[in-house]
Symmetry: C2
Subunit: 314 residues, 2 copies
């Protein structure tokens, strides 16, 4: 059995996972109101202690601890280099967990971890080459090549959300212009919809420019499904640039399958049917066997399962 | 010893290469005037026969035959799927070579093969993760992850030249708009320079619009070095988009080193000094250890050396 921990902005979710990627037990520790690393580390230890106590109780042997973080983890030094949302900078999470529990400890970015979960138990299972994209507030990526997580020589790779795919009307948080994240995230969709309403495009989703600010990505997708003009145009634009980003991934890495996860992926087949042609028409090689494009199967549990399965992908 | 064959538009170049990647003997067979696959295959056999006779003569044991092709090779079926310049379509090159000589036979795209040569004996030697870009008439790519060539699940990957990085004033041969190849190849540089002269930009490199058509990429680089206005603007645009393409590669794959080869790379440090800042400013993680950017060391011999070393990278 392995322990998997999903480090989030408001809580740490932990689970005990069997070798098949099934969750046997979960426990959550809230980190609301805490700031700085050490108070949060205390909560992390409470969480792991609880999971280990449960394992002992059940006579489960724990082989490793895996942690997915919303930032950059350095595999060699076992530091969390950045976690912007948590205010962490070069914190010794991996080192401390390993020292305290004496178990093999693995860390990686949360999008990579979610990609591992899909590979272990979701829609990319069995594929030795797969790519996972999470389309949420931002866009994150996880890349598996020859059955191993590929985060590069300095663990700075798989940032597919920051692939520059064109020019955009607003800059990305990273400081660049044209990142896939600024075209294909839920945030991007909402910003594009607001811009359209400001420009006078027709919609039934809100009364005015002020109202446009509270229209959600889900409402825009729902509007597009029933032909709302501004919503339809915004979703089509998202589909075009997501298609470009996916074509770039396929032309470069030619994975067996790409999985789309995150909030935007909840639009399901409606999204796939718009994005897939935009991707296919931009592929260099259009004949023969092709990369499949699918909606991710796991959602809330992906962080725990993927973190627990990290050991298999390193 | 291994045999490496470089399939070109006008000739087949073959060599006997030792395990250190050194060429011990070369031979060339012209294919000028030939059309169709079988007449060219005859020349290929003549070439390999000659190399094997030399090996026998010298008492060198040949372990494998590797072939680099200017197109798409399918590793599983040992077919050359496309070679547009040679008019080849699903030709059984690998199968026939293997059947005739009974030696392990490997094939791959010529850019991938040149990347392997750099990895075996050039500027990416010793790096387990590296990327090679050839900037010539077009832009080709080779990707090495964990010491192995990564061409994906259907051998359609590493087409970095067709990564879409923006919008361009002309379409790519592949049918898309915005491919890196249309910004960063020698062809792209010449087209952009011509466009500038047509628009009335100042230059000392030619007298008029007609004259602009015969200005070479090398002349444009040389002009930029001495401050020719249109040449300088064209090279800066190439550097910007090449920087975007390279940043996309680093943000995605984080290789230890990227090597730039092909005709455009002969601009050397002048090119690097313009491109590297354009790449660095677009990296998501700007601190700590970084991907190195270098000019490829091998040129004419890369095709033979890389083809011979294919066996080590599969």
């Amino acid at each position: 059995m392995r322990i998997g921990i999903d480090v989030g902005g408001m809580s740490f979710k932990g689970g005990i996972v069997n070798p098949e990627g099934e969750i046997l037990y979960t426990h959550v520790e809230s980190t609301a109101g805490l700031s700085g690393y050490l108070p949060m580390e205390e909560k992390l230890f409470i969480l792991i202690d609880e999971l280990l106590a449960k394992a002992k109780d059940q006579d489960w042997s724990i082989e490793s601890i895996g942690v997915g973080v919303p930032g950059l983890a350095d595999v060699e030094s076992n530091l969390v280099v950045y976690c912007t949302n948590l205010g962490w900078n070069n914190v010794p999470l991996g080192t401390h967990v390993k020292a305290r529990y004496g178990l093999p400890t693995f860390m990686d970015n949360d999008a990579t971890v979610a990609g591992i979960a899909e590979s272990a138990k979701g829609c990319t299972q069995g594929a030795s080459n797969s790519v996972f994209l999470t389309l949420g507030t931002g866009v994150g990526g996880g890349i598996i090549v020859n059955g191993k997580v590929t985060s590069g020589s300095h663990n700075k790779g798989s940032e597919i959300g920051h692939m520059i795919v064109g020019e955009n009307f607003y800059d990305c948080n990273c400081g660049n212009n044209g990142c896939l994240e600024t075209f294909a995230s839920a945030t991007a969709l909402m910003k594009d919809f607001q811009r359209r309403i400001e420009a006078g495009e027709a919609t039934g989703l809100c009364a005015d420019v002020d109202g446009a600010k509270s229209v959600t990505a889900k409402e825009i997708f729902d509007g597009a499904k029933v032909g709302d003009p501004a919503a339809d145009a915004a979703v089509k634009r998202l589909a075009k640039y997501l298609g470009i980003g996916l074509a770039n991934v396929v032309n470069m890495l030619d994975p067996e399958v790409i999985a789309l996860g995150g909030g935007v992926s909840k639009a399901g087949d409606f999204l796939l049917n718009m994005v897939e042609p935009e991707m296919r028409k931009r592929l260099v090689f259009k004949e023969g066997k092709q990369t499949r494009l699918e909606i991710a199967q796991l959602s809330n549990d992906a962080g725990i399962i993927g973190a627990a399965m990290l050991a298999n992908y390193k």
